[in-house]
């Protein structure tokens, strides 16, 4: 059995659907960060059979609610003094800004610098989102990985 120590202060992203952990890591742009990060794949789970898990040390003040776009089943626990002080149940977001990148070459976001990429949920069942500018539709269930923009908060923090 692989043992990873509990963290004193930080964030634990738990109950990640097995296989999606790497995508969440990619979204968080974690490979450029200086924080201590533990990534566990295919851990046994009573609820789901297998799950992935991410622990990030020393970070608590960040908004991870958009993670529901990638995996609405995941949970986020905020840890302080080895205790869970806040538990966030992720939901499928209604609207995301600068998370999904519009791939339509005719979309204005392909030429207008600084324009926020805005997508709005149109079908909860299919997890389909529509670009607010050009109406192009993407499904988060399908092959969406390339459309997800990387969050830069960790990179920014680690450069401080």
């Amino acid at each position: 059995m692989l043992v990873i120590n509990s963290i004193e202060k930080g964030i634990v992203i738990d109950h990640i659907t097995a296989g999606l952990g790497a995508k969440i890591l990619n979204y968080l742009d974690i490979d450029t960060s200086e924080h201590t990060v533990a990534f566990i794949m295919n851990a046994p789970s009573k609820k789901y059979g297998r799950k992935d898990m991410i622990k990030i040390n020393d970070v608590t003040d960040i908004d991870l609610s958009d993670l529901g776009l990638i995996d609405p089943k995941a949970t986020v626990n905020v840890i302080e003094n080895h205790k869970v002080v806040k538990k966030i149940r992720l939901e499928i977001p209604e609207r995301v800004v600068d998370v999904i990148k519009c791939k339509n070459p005719r979309c204005v976001t392909s030429i207008e610098r600084n324009a926020p990429h805005v997508f709005v949920l149109i079908d909860r069942e299919e997890r389909e989102y529509k670009c607010e500018y050009c109406d192009d539709i993407v499904s988060m269930k399908g092959d969406w990985q390339n459309e997800i923009m990387r969050k830069e908060w960790l990179r920014i923090k680690s450069r401080k």
Partner: protein
């Protein structure tokens, strides 16, 4: 309340708001002199990042006939865009000088960028192959004025039903009214896209049929909406040449139609309507262009809150 609103796509307006605009347009048609000075002191800016003759002139004529003034550019080479300015900065600056902005841009969704920064209402005058709401308003006013309303109509749509945005917008707008039947006349290659069939027709339980020849169905129609097969939509010349003259409406076919059917076309027309049809009283496409100016006049008044 339409004051200070933007018009980016036709469905931004409810059926009631559309009626408000059409009521005003019909008032203007009846008594144009009463409105000839209503926009005095107001400035309309036309930002045409893509050349367009018809729509731009229609808007300019509309504002001038209301006593307002017009500024703007008609192609991006003569604007600061050529120097690398963003759409947002251009619109924000122009909104400092003007009271209302009309914007055309080749990229889809560009006018929405405008709405994020503008201090004045933005009207989308076409964003690539995406939306062209004032064309839909034009079509609707024409139908309402000449057919007395939108319900219980059999509407034939003919030509390029795949790429024609005016057709998709019009179908969507008409699907909100009662007992509409669509007859879709197109070659196999230019049939309506599946999403229109699914989202507009099946979802709203609209009756429709798809046919190949005008002659088969023209006698059933209250409205025949003709469209041009657009060269720029094709990847190879061969397909365009094969399909461009697929449907030509001539006097022989018009002889089969009802006495009170109307023929509409968003213009410009190429070969799809023979010139001989122009003299038929049922050919109303130039009148339609005139309705386009009136509906734009009504829209400008409403968005400026001057009614």
């Amino acid at each position: 309340m339409l004051k200070s609103r933007n018009l980016i796509e036709p469905m931004d307006l409810s059926v009631e708001e559309l009626d408000e605009i059409f009521d005003l347009a019909e008032e203007i048609i009846k008594k144009p002199s009463e409105y000839s000075n209503i926009c005095a002191g107001n400035l309309l800016a036309t930002l045409f990042f893509e050349p367009s003759t018809r729509t731009r002139i229609s808007f300019e004529a509309a504002m001038l006939k209301l006593g307002g003034k017009v500024i703007g550019f008609s192609e991006p080479t003569s604007s600061s865009i050529a120097k690398g300015e963003s759409i947002a900065d251009t619109v924000r600056t122009v909104s400092c000088y003007s009271d209302i902005i009309v914007m055309r841009h080749p990229k889809e969704g560009a006018p929405r960028i405008g709405t994020m920064v503008s201090e004045v209402p933005i009207i989308n005058a076409g964003d690539g192959g995406h939306q062209h709401p004032t064309q839909t308003l034009t079509d609707l006013l024409t139908i309402r004025s000449l057919k007395g309303g939108f319900s219980n109509l059999t509407v034939g749509l003919c030509g390029d039903l795949m790429f024609g945005r005016t057709v998709h917008s019009l179908m969507k707008a008409l699907s909100r009214y009662e007992n509409i039947t669509f007859i879709l006349i197109s070659p196999q290659e230019l049939m309506i896209p599946e999403y229109v069939r699914k989202e507009v027709l099946r979802k709203n339980g609209i009756k429709y049929e798809e046919v190949r020849r005008i002659e088969e169905v023209i006698d059933k129609l209250d409205i025949l909406y003709m469209t041009r097969v657009q060269k720029e939509r094709f990847f190879n010349e061969e397909d365009y040449v094969r399909l461009k003259d697929h449907y030509i409406l001539d006097n022989e076919k018009m002889a089969l139609a009802k006495e009170d059917m109307i023929v509409m076309h968003p213009l410009p027309r190429v070969n799809e309507i023979a010139v001989e049809v122009d003299n038929d009283p049922r050919a109303i496409y130039f009148k339609q262009a005139k309705y386009g100016m009136y509906v734009r006049m009504a829209l400008i008044i409403k968005l400026l809150g001057l009614d």
